[in-house]
């Protein structure tokens, strides 16, 4: 029966929607009259502009219908439109023609006008073809308040406009929502959190006419207000905690996020809010805060992928700034003009790249591979360091120590350098003499192959080869001290160039260890090497890997011989090693890579030359240049190299490298935040042909789109000028676009439904007068954001109940006319925050680095393709308070969005998002039923029910219900909840272990004073409550 009833209802609703003309977005239709803006321009835009619109390059027959001049212009003796004479108008002839050669739009064009639209076009021309320029490009004019019949209903100006339309449509507004619903609605809307029981009681008790206003003022003053407002702005600003492409490393932008919250809480006027974010750095004597604000345009993604072409991504970044600026402040989609003149809106490619010219003067490269801080956190230049007094003090102290030491080192260097020329000469001429060793013993640890020394003291493997092995060689030398060891790998006897036993004939040496052992068998010294140089290595097998062998890491040196010549690797000892008489050298050569990668033939030799390593070709070249002719860099490399061989210098500078590393570690701990910073000399800007980064065309200069009012003549032609232009009273767009977004946050739809598009393809305003009134009001009150929020929520329109009759649903399914309150599912953040709030788990801590709350295990790792353990690939879930912070502080990784947010329609934050979809899916049900977050919240809510509710079952259920819905449960509801509780309580009592399991979900501990079975049963009731449609909805 239950299902049937629902089906029946749904069917009705659908029939209603389908079979009646639903409300159109614009003014009511008066019979017979055709309105240009409402009826005609959309037809022209949809069916004609593609070939006869603003885009010059694709314009056909040189005709354009997006301007009045164009549509009236003569073309070969004919006129597209002759006002008052439809039969003489070419447009009419063409659209009614059945001749495929004549017919317009051409038969294969996808968007044909309907029969009705054709008639409308004809009627419009008959009416004299009155032309209106696009409404959104005309400066808003403050309209008179409309006259309404019902004088009692309006509470403020907004209501006059809404009521006027309702009266015209013969509809009545709904009654005011009951106090509980209204309080919950406005509290969620202004703070993102539900009202507390105390707040509910206080409001219920307050019978004065000011009661509601007092609530609104209290909410606007709450620090939670800024957090709530910030969420929408973060979507627009594509704020996230990672770089966004490919490996998607962590970045720091939270100082900017905190700036936004504070700006809302301080009620920073929107014009200032705009200027500081777009151009705070260009303000005279810009403060630290103003610079942080410019992070707005550094929130975008930054590519770090190896091999990326910097110029390509430089362009992407600048383009993204243009797109985002146009969308956020102008409500225009200019992205099309990146490749060609816009098809529908009067934005040319030149306009686009003139805007681009405002944003391409940042000292950035387009890709970033350098500025990786500790823990793989990246800040891509330009960035600024936040004040960190303690760290700064430590740094200053360390700098002093470093400077003092440097002075000593400098002194020694000055003395030593006198010997440099002679030393260089010796290195160039005196090549090391490699002495053969006498092999005493050579064996493989595996015991498998025999290692045989030949008469040249080279060693050959004979017999079965192990999968992996370590060779031990004991030898004697005639030298009394050694400075270098050479290992030569030779072709296996009988082969031409096979050096190792692996299938492909290669070898890999993992480590070489050397010990000096006294005649008596006592180990004298384990030799340390300072330098390794080898023959050209195979890719990924550099000889330097031998210097830093890591445990359990299979890697090492490997080289190939094309011609059969031996390959070699030379180890230079850190200090000269003295060899007492009779002592032996014990070598250990590990070759642990699987696949028989052992050498098959090798030789060890030694030298006492104090420069055993081969001199690099670069240094050989420099050493041959007379000192006075060397360039600065050459002088430095030669000197550094020389000094590295001087013991006195090494002793004096010992610890310097360590101190410099410490310095970097300290410096890395100072939080950085990315900002905008103008280059001294602006980069040139060009139209990029078809948007391609490598196809510059005509040069352009910073300018705003030609169709709009221009910059003041004395305005700076930089970002500051652009920002000031956006908030100028002459700008027709910014105030409208902004109030429309405010409106949508409370009412679900914008007054212009296409919140992201105020262009010709966008929807017309449902209440154009109201939009203009709000826009002019916003400017009149000095862009006072809080005042506007107050205005909206104080209106009678906002306060209406959201119950809807079938008739009204049929008439206005989308609630465009606002004959009722809006009923909407809460955004992701509010759903989680409210559960944390009424369960008492929530942390009120504001700001700071983002946190990592519960998330199913493995989400980051499964996409990271083996890069686990690198910080950006492993999700390290937070602890304690971090699990219960408000959702806007959740760490946002763009390539793997936090699932608790994305399940409820939060965007990926890769690009500017103006509005989120509001969906209803089974995955949401699963999340609310089973996610640790909500199971733990249910248990905590259950604890509150048991501890605070009272002693009876009804009292306890009532308490939980009010916490979540702000209202009293109905009798029928109480019966359902109570019966459910009793059923499950019986079960939980009979299976205490199960009850214990259920209440131990989550990191917070269950209250052990409560009976486990009872708590578990109440947990199920709390879970039922927090899953209710009403609870995740603003009613």
């Amino acid at each position: 029966m239950r299902r049937l009833a629902v089906k029946f209802f749904v069917v009705n609703a659908l029939v209603a929607v389908v079979l009646t003309t639903s409300v159109e977005a614009q003014k009511p239709v008066s019979a017979g009259h055709v309105d240009f803006t409402r009826d005609i321009r959309p037809i022209l835009s949809d069916s004609c502009f593609h070939c006869h619109g603003p885009d010059e390059s694709t314009r056909k027959a040189k005709m354009r219908f997006d301007t009045k001049e164009g549509i009236l212009a003569e073309r070969r003796g004919r006129f597209p439109v002759v006002p008052g004479k439809p039969d003489d108008s070419e447009i009419v002839k063409r659209i009614f023609s059945n001749d495929p050669d004549e017919q317009m739009p051409p038969p294969d064009y996808a968007r044909q006008p309907t029969a009705k639209q054709k008639e409308q076009l004809k009627a419009w021309i008959a009416q004299g073809a009155p032309w209106e320029d696009h409404w959104a490009f005309e400066k808003p004019v403050r309209p008179e308040l409309p006259q309404v019949k019902n004088k009692k209903w309006p509470r403020n100006e907004i209501d006059h406009f809404i009521l006027e339309r309702l009266e015209a449509e013969k509809l009545k507004p709904s009654q005011e929502a009951d106090k509980a619903t209204l309080l919950r609605r406005v509290t969620l809307d202004l703070t993102g959190l539900p009202p507390t029981p105390e707040e509910i009681r206080a409001f219920q008790k307050d019978k004065s006419s000011k009661a509601y206003e007092r609530v609104v003022d209290r909410l606007l003053a709450s620090p939670r207000y800024g957090e709530r407002m910030a969420v929408d702005w973060l979507d627009l600003a594509r704020y996230a905690d990672t770089h966004g492409y490919q490996v998607d490393r962590e970045r720091i932008m939270w100082p900017w996020r905190d700036w936004v919250i504070k700006a809302f809480n301080d009620n920073m006027p929107f014009d200032q809010f705009t200027v500081e974010q777009l151009a705070g750095d260009l303000l005279p004597n810009a403060t630290l805060e103003q610079k942080i604000a410019t992070g707005f345009h550094r929130n975008q993604r930054i590519n770090m992928e190896g091999g990326s072409i910097a110029e390509e991504f430089f362009v992407e970044q600048v383009v993204d700034r243009v797109d985002t600026t146009a969308t956020v402040w102008m409500g225009l989609t200019v992205g099309c003009a990146r490749c060609h003149d816009h098809k529908y809106d009067p934005v040319s490619a030149k306009d686009f790249y003139s805007m681009y010219a405002f944003f391409n003067n940042i000292a950035e490269r387009g890709v970033d591979r350098e500025n990786v801080q500790r823990n793989n956190i990246v800040s891509t230049r330009p960035f600024l360091k936040l004040p960190a007094p303690e760290l700064e003090a430590k740094l200053a102290q360390l700098d002093e120590t470093i400077a003092a030491k440097q002075r000593v080192v400098d002194g020694i260097t000055a003395t030593l350098s006198k010997q440099q020329v002679a030393w260089e000469k010796q290195v160039l001429t005196n090549a090391p003499d490699w002495k053969n060793l006498t092999v005493i013993e050579a064996k493989a640890e595996s015991g498998k192959p025999v290692l045989k020394a030949s008469n040249e003291n080279s060693i050959v493997t004979e017999g079965e080869i192990a999968e992996a092995d370590t060779f031990v060689v004991v030898a004697q030398t005639e030298l009394t001290n050694i400075n270098g060891i050479r290992l030569e790998v030779l072709p296996i006897p009988g082969s031409t160039n096979q050096l190792g036993h692996s299938k492909d004939g290669t070898f890999v040496l993992n480590t070489l260890n050397l010990e000096v052992v006294a005649k008596a068998g006592k180990r004298l010294q384990s030799v340390e090497f300072s330098k390794v140089s080898g023959s050209a290595a195979r890719s990924g097998f550099a000889a330097t890997l031998l210097l830093r062998p890591r445990e359990n890491v299979i890697g090492g040196w490997s080289a190939e011989s094309k011609t059969g010549e031996p390959v070699d690797v030379i180890f230079e000892t850190k200090e000269s090693v003295s060899i007492p008489a009779g002592a032996t050298l014990k070598f250990k050569l590990t070759q642990n890579n699987p696949g028989k990668t052992q050498m098959g033939h090798f030789r060890l030799t030694a030298t006492d030359n104090d420069h055993p390593s081969p001199l690099s070709s670069a240094l050989t070249k420099i050493f041959k240049i007379p000192v006075e002719k060397r360039k600065v860099a050459e002088v430095k490399s030669a000197s550094d190299y020389f000094l590295s061989y001087q013991a006195e210098y090494r002793t004096a500078s010992e610890g310097m490298a360590q101190m410099n590393r410490e310095r970097k570690t300290l410096d890395d701990q100072i939080p950085r935040t990315m900002v905008m910073e103008e280059l001294d000399k602006p980069r040139d800007a060009f139209i990029l042909v078809r948007g391609a980064y490598d196809q510059p065309g005509e040069r352009v200069f910073p300018a705003v789109p030609a169709i709009l009012p221009q910059l003041e003549p004395d305005a700076p032609t930089n970002r500051l000028g652009l920002a000031q232009w956006l908030i100028s009273p002459e700008n027709p767009l910014t105030a409208r676009v902004t109030v429309n977004r405010f409106w949508a946050a409370y009412f679900g739809n914008g007054l212009v439904k296409t919140i992201e598009d105020f262009g010709m393809q966008g929807d017309l305003p449902s209440h154009p007068g109201l939009l203009d009134w709000l826009a002019t009001e916003f400017m009149r009150v000095g862009w006072d954001t809080k005042a506007m929020q107050k205005l909206l929520v104080m209106s009678a329109t906002y306060r209406q109940a959201s119950q809807v009759s079938e008739d009204l649903l049929e008439r206005d399914p989308e609630n465009i006319l606002l004959a009722r309150g809006s009923r909407m599912r809460l955004p992701a953040e509010m759903i989680r925050d409210q559960a944390l709030s009424f369960s008492g788990l929530i942390s009120e801590k504001m700001g700071g680095p983002s946190v990592k709350p519960y998330q199913p295990v493995g989400l980051w790792e499964e996409l990271a393709a083996g890069a686990e353990g690198t910080g950006f690939a492993t999700y390290e879930q937070g602890k304690g308070e971090d699990l219960y912070r408000r959702s806007l502080y959740t760490f946002w990784k763009r390539t793997v969005s936090p699932p608790a947010m994305s399940t409820f329609d939060a965007p990926t934050r890769e690009i500017c998002t103006v509005s989120r979809s509001r969906t209803s899916t089974p995955l949401q049900a699963l999340a609310l039923l089973n996610d640790v977050t909500y199971v733990e919240a249910a248990r905590s809510l259950a604890q509150r029910m048991l501890r605070e509710g009272g002693s009876s079952v009804e009292q306890r259920i009532r308490h939980g219900f009010i916490l979540a819905t702000a209202r009293e449960p109905k009798k029928a509801e109480m019966t359902i909840l109570k019966t459910g509780l009793e059923q499950r309580l019986a079960e939980m009592k009979s299976d205490r272990a199960a009850a214990e399991q259920l209440i131990s979900v989550g990191d917070s501990k269950a209250d052990d004073k409560l009976n486990a079975s009872e708590l578990a049963a109440y947990t199920t009731v709390a879970s039922v409550i927090l899953n209710l449609d009403e609870v995740i909805t603003k009613q």
Binding site: V10, A536, A865, A867, R894, N930
Partner: protein, 489 residues
């Protein structure tokens, strides 16, 4: 389900009916009145058993569903499908400028002084009646040569992984557009009632253990409502996020809670009259159904031994490509519309011969098995299978070259893919490249062309499945895309 969007769907339907000029026909009306419309699942998830756009498919589809075997990283075409015997003589010669034509290279090899040609070390043979040349690395694929259509003339615009994968999946290199699976969910809705319409599974290659990562956006819905996004079936933890009840909660208790939620929601529905509440009620029932349908689906214990023999030994191990192929077939049987596998590990910049064996043995047998299996079950003809990556690889070596080893950088100017099943001409080799597998010499297939053709197999005219966003009617093929008629059956 969102009312806004639903309303738009309705308007679309109305426009469609308006255009047919016959008004609302009885059959169409019946479908509009489908009571499931508000009450069932779809795309990410929602859409109902009907769920898609009116007027779609535009024409009779050849394929009902797609299994897209995406090979992430960019498999090397001249080591697998694009046989170039002449290269052996050109070993280590510098790539002629006449071939390179100054085309851009990635930052990884643009500084190389020379571009020595690295011929494939693998042997090729002709297979099947079609005589397609296939590498010895793909013996199983070779056996189904007459079932597949190899395109050797794919080309793309991007040269790095992130933009290139984003491009082939969404038709745009820049983030923010819906992926193909989302477009299908949106346009065609779902065929089944208790599973999502678009499912994604990920596996790691054994050829290259640390490789390119993937991103949520690849199965994201972009500007389409988020319910159309792909649902990831995971190999560890819950196969679908939050699927399992919390510990300690019995099935009976869960059912009783759901009953309470339903009853309470109904009281509120009566009070408020908002159809969204009815939708919510239905979604909870759907969630409950998924809690049994998904574990049932991922439980392979009912599969006969022969299945695992066909798909290979790895097919018993959750998380492998082979295992995902078995799941893909099970999903196809349940009428999931778009099944997408991502196999990581094809980015072979160095030592191709060391990395290729693992990747090939991961994917060769299971991919071929999928074809055989679907044929046995009579589902091959209405399932479209796509195999391929985001770009190809360079003929010249990245890093050092030897007779045994070479590396290959990214190459967008030509690469190979294969398609099979519904709508595709079997046993075909399409397109040609020059002697160096560097430039296309015949029948180029741009990514937009491929996508247009895939849509065509599913009965969709790519120019007519659009979504208006930011004032523009977007398509997955942007304003491009030509049908590749030569590969269509």
């Amino acid at each position: 389900m969102n009312l806004d969007h639903e309303h738009k769907l309705m308007l679309t339907r109305r426009q469609f009916f308006g255009k047919t000029a016959t008004g609302i026909g009885a059959a169409a009306l019946a479908s509009l009145l489908n009571p499931n419309l508000f009450g069932s699942v779809a795309g990410g998830l929602d859409s109902s058993a009907h769920g898609g756009l009116a007027g779609l498919p535009h024409f009779a589809p050849k394929a009902k569903r797609i299994i897209y075997l995406f090979q992430s990283g960019g498999p090397s075409q001249m080591d697998l499908f694009d046989y170039k015997p002449g290269l052996r003589e050109k070993y280590s010669e510098d790539l002629p400028d006449s071939i390179r034509q100054g085309q851009r290279l990635t930052g990884m090899t643009s500084n190389q002084k020379t571009f020595p040609v690295a011929p494939s070390i693998y042997k090729f043979k002709q297979h099947g009646k079609s005589g397609a040349w296939i590498s010895e690395m793909l013996p199983h694929t070779a056996k189904v040569a007459d079932d597949i259509c190899i395109i050797r003339s794919m080309h793309t615009e991007a040269i790095n992984h992130d933009p290139a994968i984003t491009f082939i999946q969404t038709g745009s290199q820049i983030a923010g557009r819906p992926c193909m699976g989302s477009w299908f969910s949106y346009g065609l809705g779902s065929e089944n009632k208790d599973l999502p319409a678009f499912i994604v599974m990920i596996s790691r290659g054994t050829g290259r253990k640390v490789d390119q990562p993937l991103y949520d956006r690849l199965w994201g819905s972009g500007f389409l409502p988020s319910r159309y996004q792909g649902v990831k079936f995971r190999s560890n933890g819950d196969p679908v996020l939050y699927l399992s009840d919390p510990p300690g909660l019995s099935g009976k208790a869960r059912r009783s809670m759901l009953d309470d939620i339903g009853k309470l929601n109904e009281i509120n529905l009566k009070a408020y009259g908002d159809p969204e509440i009815a939708t919510r009620i239905a979604q909870y029932e759907m969630a409950y159904k998924m809690q049994s349908s998904v574990p049932d689906l991922t439980d392979l214990s009912s599969e006969p031994e022969s299945t695992f023999e066909m798909y290979g030994p790895e097919s018993r191990t959750p998380g492998t490509y082979a295992y995902n192929c078995v799941l893909a077939r099970r999903l196809a049987e349940r009428d999931v519309r778009f099944i997408q596998l991502y196999h990581i590990g094809w980015d072979h910049h160095e030592s191709v011969p060391r990395q290729m064996p693992g990747q090939c043995s991961d994917t060769d047998q299971p991919s071929a098995a999928l074809i055989k299996d679907l044929k046995q079950r009579g589902m091959f003809d209405d399932t479209l299978i796509v195999w391929g990556g985001e770009f190809g690889r360079t003929v010249y070596t990245q890093g050092t070259l030897s007779k045994e080893s070479y590396g290959r950088d990214h190459h967008p100017r030509c690469f190979s893919m294969w398609l099979a099943g519904g709508g595709i001409k079997p046993g075909t080799v399409y397109g040609e490249t020059d002697d160096y597998s560097y430039n296309i010499t015949r029948d180029p297939v741009h990514v937009h062309d491929l996508n247009a053709t895939i849509l065509n197999c599913m009965g969709i005219d790519h120019t007519r499945m659009t979504f208006k966003y930011q004032g523009r009617h977007h398509r997955i093929t942007d304003v491009h895309g030509e049908l590749v008629k030569g590969i269509l059956a």
